[in-house]
């Protein structure tokens, strides 16, 4: 089944690059939602006997990563009367190149780390690391609060991918990880973003730079 996961992971990596490459926030949100759904499928495809814990994880992941949070993001986007472009710190192409480089780095780094014997899918570690890095790139190179949240979600997705390695052994931990995403996600998005929007009548984090030395 490892080949199945690997192929899914390839899609995920491609989605990362798309996320970096798209300039409309709405479409970025869609991409992340799709990524979330894919992630949700993986645990089911990872190994033969399907136990309730795994199903739970998959269900939660698809629900949150694929629907709830993207939905809320779009709502926030609708409420916020802002330009719908991403406004990156650096252009679209450079950030894609950065993403590619990050992926390459992840591949190299992953080879340094030993893998478990029964490991069938070989892309998991590099994919998760590169997704994490792409999340960082989004966080660093985007100005809008919403896009930063998206970046954070991508980061979480990367971690979730790594969680696949542990699904069999300790599903509970993975569940908790997902669960916490829910908290933070909802909290950050609903409350703070709206407050920022109200207070600054914008979601541009460049206005959130008054506290400094």
């Amino acid at each position: 089944m490892g080949s199945m996961i690997d192929s899914l992971l390839v899609v995920v990596l491609v989605l990362n690059l798309f996320a970096l490459g798209t300039s409309r926030i709405q479409s970025v949100i869609r991409i992340v939602a799709l990524q979330g759904i894919l992630l949700g499928i993986m645990p089911l495809s990872s190994h033969a006997p399907i136990d309730p814990a795994t199903v739970g994880i998959a269900f939660l992941a698809i629900l949150l990563k694929g629907m709830v949070i993207p939905g809320m993001l779009s709502r926030a986007l609708r409420d916020a009367t802002i330009k719908k472009e991403v406004e990156p710190l650096i252009g679209v192409l450079p950030s894609m190149i950065l993403g590619a480089l990050a992926t390459g780095f992840a591949m190299v780094f992953a080879t340094q780390l030993p893998l478990a014997g029964m490991q069938t899918a070989h892309l998991v570690v590099p994919a998760s690391l590169s997704t994490v890095l792409v999340g960082f790139i989004l966080l660093i190179t985007r100005y809008k609060a919403i896009t930063q949240v998206i970046g954070y979600l991508v980061l979480e997705n990367g971690i979730f991918i790594f969680g696949l390695l542990l699904v069999e052994s300790m599903p509970l931990v993975v569940e908790m990880g997902v669960l916490l995403d829910l908290f933070v996600g909802i909290f950050v998005i609903c409350i703070i973003v709206n407050h920022i929007n109200r207070a600054f009548s914008s979601l541009d984090t460049r206005q959130l730079a008054n506290l400094k030395e």
């Binding site: 710190l89 966080l139 660093i140 930063q148 959130l208 730079a209 506290l211 400094k212 030395e213």
Partner: protein, 667 residues
């Protein structure tokens, strides 16, 4: 009650003396009077304990049950501690009496209570410092002393000048404390315990480098408090801006705690290489000469006295250097003379510097200024103050027949004796010590002739100085006591010699090689006769001979001013110009800041010439360095510049750095 218990109780009384005042009314004098009473009782008790400790043969030790977090509450008093305890129990008490008249609560409702509280704490902490025998206890007492001194020195914290001086003091003393913290941490590493007691050569043998580190750390750490020359930056400002009785206590007693530390470490470390003594001698000579040079260039009377304290510290360091050197080459007589001279000078300086600060305070109190160029002619309005001040300046210039001469004479004897070499390597070195001492003495004479003349002699140079009168007993009493002390030690030094001898014997914990009889190396029997002869002869000639030979009573008239008809007070030679000629010769170390207007045109406007001598270390080195450092650090502010994106970059950087660092350190 054992002497040690007495001393501890006394220190507790001193420390607590100011507490009642805290709860007093803003303007009620009761609290302050109560503080004075407590201080007097405590000091009396303490002095009694010290006397008992001095007569008791063995050093008294005590370990309290109460355990500190690390280390133990162990205290002891030996002759060395006793020597340093005496000023602690004398000067603060006198200063408190003086304070009744000088800083009455009624006139200073704002800060009087704070002052008398911190003043008491300062006194108590100093008493504890001298008896502490555990590293931690010592550090605690030390820092309490330092912080209390900060509070008394910044009594008038409304003035920016006072705040600045206070800050400089706080930073300087903290640097010193950090050095001491390092010292005791290393001490524990070397000895395996925090016991603050002689370091056995066996233990020290393991790390010879460690012992040198201990010595240098002690020199720097204690040197900051004592104010040895490159580290003195805090001293003039703090002394000048504090109330006068506080200045007296700080200069007369607190600086000596630094000397105490150096004496202790020098005695308790194993015998060191010769360069230790050489270093001490060099530092001492530098401190003494530069100190008095700067003093001579001041026009603020209290700054002047502060710089002269630096000079006297230098003289004490010279003594310690001689003793350390003597110990290295196994010359008991050098050890004796150097250490005895140093310790006696500790007492003497407490006596005459306290006296001078008290008198200066009385003058400042009357004239309302610290600038000696505003004074003049006060001797006729404040005759008694002028007389004791003159006595003080003669004593501090080390002129016979007063006490300053005795201690310096001991040091001279040491330097001259070191010329008859057992081991030829040390003798020319020490000879220069004698010359430095001579130069210092001559310069001190200039400096104090200047200050006494400018303040008390001639005619009043300003309105402020044209009235005023001798202070009442609260100010005069303490001065009289100290003056009496100067005369007593000066006329009958024999009395104090046995005490000094005991201190020298107990210096290293083990007797120095070849015990010496002080009567042979320091014959002082002639001093009383000489002093008596001088006094009687002068009194006789002035009192009888001159009136006898010239029948007519002298005519009084104006000063002969070389034919100029109407001399005014402004034409007098000012103190600054008196010191100027020395300042010019030594301009290459003093770097005076002069503002000389160029006089041009046929009828030039009125122009002023100004010259000031800023502290080289503080104003030309420390301050610029600090400002530079601050500018550099301000440049770094952009790291925290508000952009959350940048902060996220820091995360990546941190993770990568740590991974790479880990990998690198692994390989």
């Amino acid at each position: 009650m054992s002497p040690l218990k007495l001393i501890l109780l006394a220190s507790a009384l001193l420390g607590a003396s100011g507490i009642p005042a805290l709860f007093g009314k803003r303007r009620s004098p009761v609290g302050q009077q109560l503080a004075v009473v407590l201080l007097l009782v405590g000091s009396g008790m303490g002095l009694y304990g010290v006397a008992r400790a001095l007569v008791s043969p063995a050093p008294v030790t005590m370990e309290l049950a109460w355990l500190l977090p690390v280390g133990a509450f162990s205290v002891a008093v030996d002759a060395v501690s006793a020597i340093f305890l005496v000023p602690v129990f004398v000067l603060p008490a006198l200063g408190a009496i003086y304070g009744l008249g000088y800083w009455p609560q009624r006139q200073h409702p704002g800060n009087g209570r704070k002052l008398s509280f911190a003043y008491g704490v300062l006194a108590g902490a100093m008493a504890l410092v001298t008896v502490a025998r555990d590293g931690i206890l010592f550090l605690i007492a030390w820092e309490v002393m330092a912080v209390a001194a900060f509070f008394v020195a910044t009594t008038e914290d409304r003035e920016p000048a006072v705040r600045r001086a206070g800050w400089i003091y706080l930073v300087a003393t903290h640097v010193g404390t950090l050095c001491l913290i390092a010292l005791f941490a290393l001490w524990q590493r070397t000895t395996g315990s925090f016991a603050w007691s002689p370091l056995s050569p066996a233990m020290a043998g393991q790390q010879p480098g460690g012992v040198t580190a201990l010595f240098l750390l002690a020199l720097v750490g204690f040197g900051f408090k004592a104010g040895i020359m490159p580290l003195h930056v805090w001293l003039p400002g703090a002394h000048a801006n504090a109330p006068s009785h506080v200045s007296a206590v700080m200069s007369g007693v607190m600086l000596k705690m630094g000397i105490y530390g150096i004496v202790r470490v020098a005695g308790w470390l194993p015998v060191g290489p010769a360069w230790w003594g050489g270093l001490l001698l060099g530092v001492g000579a530098l401190t003494a000469v530069l100190g008095i040079l700067f003093a001579n260039a001041q026009r603020d009377i209290k700054r002047l006295l502060a710089y002269s304290s630096i000079e006297n510290i230098g003289i004490m360091i010279l003594g310690i250097g001689l003793a350390v050197l003597g110990r290295t080459v196994g010359r008991a007589d050098l050890v004796w003379l150097g250490l005895a001279g140093c310790l006696l000078h500790v007492w003497n300086h407490a006596l005459f510097k306290g006296l001078l600060f008290f008198a200066a305070g009385a003058v400042v109190h009357e004239t309302g200024t610290r600038d000696i160029e505003q004074m003049g002619g006060l001797a006729r309005r404040m005759p008694r103050t002028a007389a004791v001040f003159l006595l003080g300046v003669v004593a501090i210039s080390a002129l016979p027949p007063l006490n300053g001469f005795v201690s310096e004479w001991l040091l001279y004897m040491g330097f001259f004796r070191s010329l008859s070499p057992v081991d030829g390597s040390i003798w020319h070195l020490t000879g220069f010590g004698a010359v430095a001492l001579a130069l210092t003495g001559a310069l001190a004479a200039v400096c104090f002739c200047k200050v006494h003349g400018a303040v008390f002699l001639g005619a009043a140079r300003s309105e402020a100085a044209s009235d005023g009168h001798d202070p009442d007993f609260r100010l005069a009493g303490p001065m009289a006591v100290l003056a009496g002390g100067c005369v007593l030690v000066g006329f009958l030094p024999i009395c104090v010699m046995p005490i000094l001898d005991g201190a020298v014997q107990s210096w290293t914990g083990a007797p120095v090689a070849g015990v010496v009889a002080w009567r042979e190396i320091a014959p002082l029997g002639w001093i009383p006769w000489l002093a008596a002869f001088l006094v009687i002869a002068v009194a006789g000639i002035v009192g009888f001979l001159i009136p006898a030979v010239c029948g007519a009573t002298p005519r009084r008239t104006g000063t002969w001013d070389c034919g100029y008809a109407r001399p005014t007070a402004r034409m007098q030679y000012t103190g600054s110009s008196f010191g100027q000629s020395v300042t010019e010769i030594f301009a290459w170390v003093l770097w005076p800041r002069a503002h000389r207007p160029r006089i041009q045109a046929l009828f030039p406007r009125v122009r002023g010439f100004e010259q000031s001598v800023p502290d080289v270390m503080l104003d030309r080195l420390a301050t610029p360095v600090f400002q530079f450092a601050e500018r550099i650090l301000m440049r770094l502010r952009f790291l925290q510049q508000g952009r959350i994106q940048v902060y996220v970059v820091y995360f990546l950087a941190a993770v990568l750095t740590l991974l790479l660092l880990g990998a690198w350190l692994q390989s």
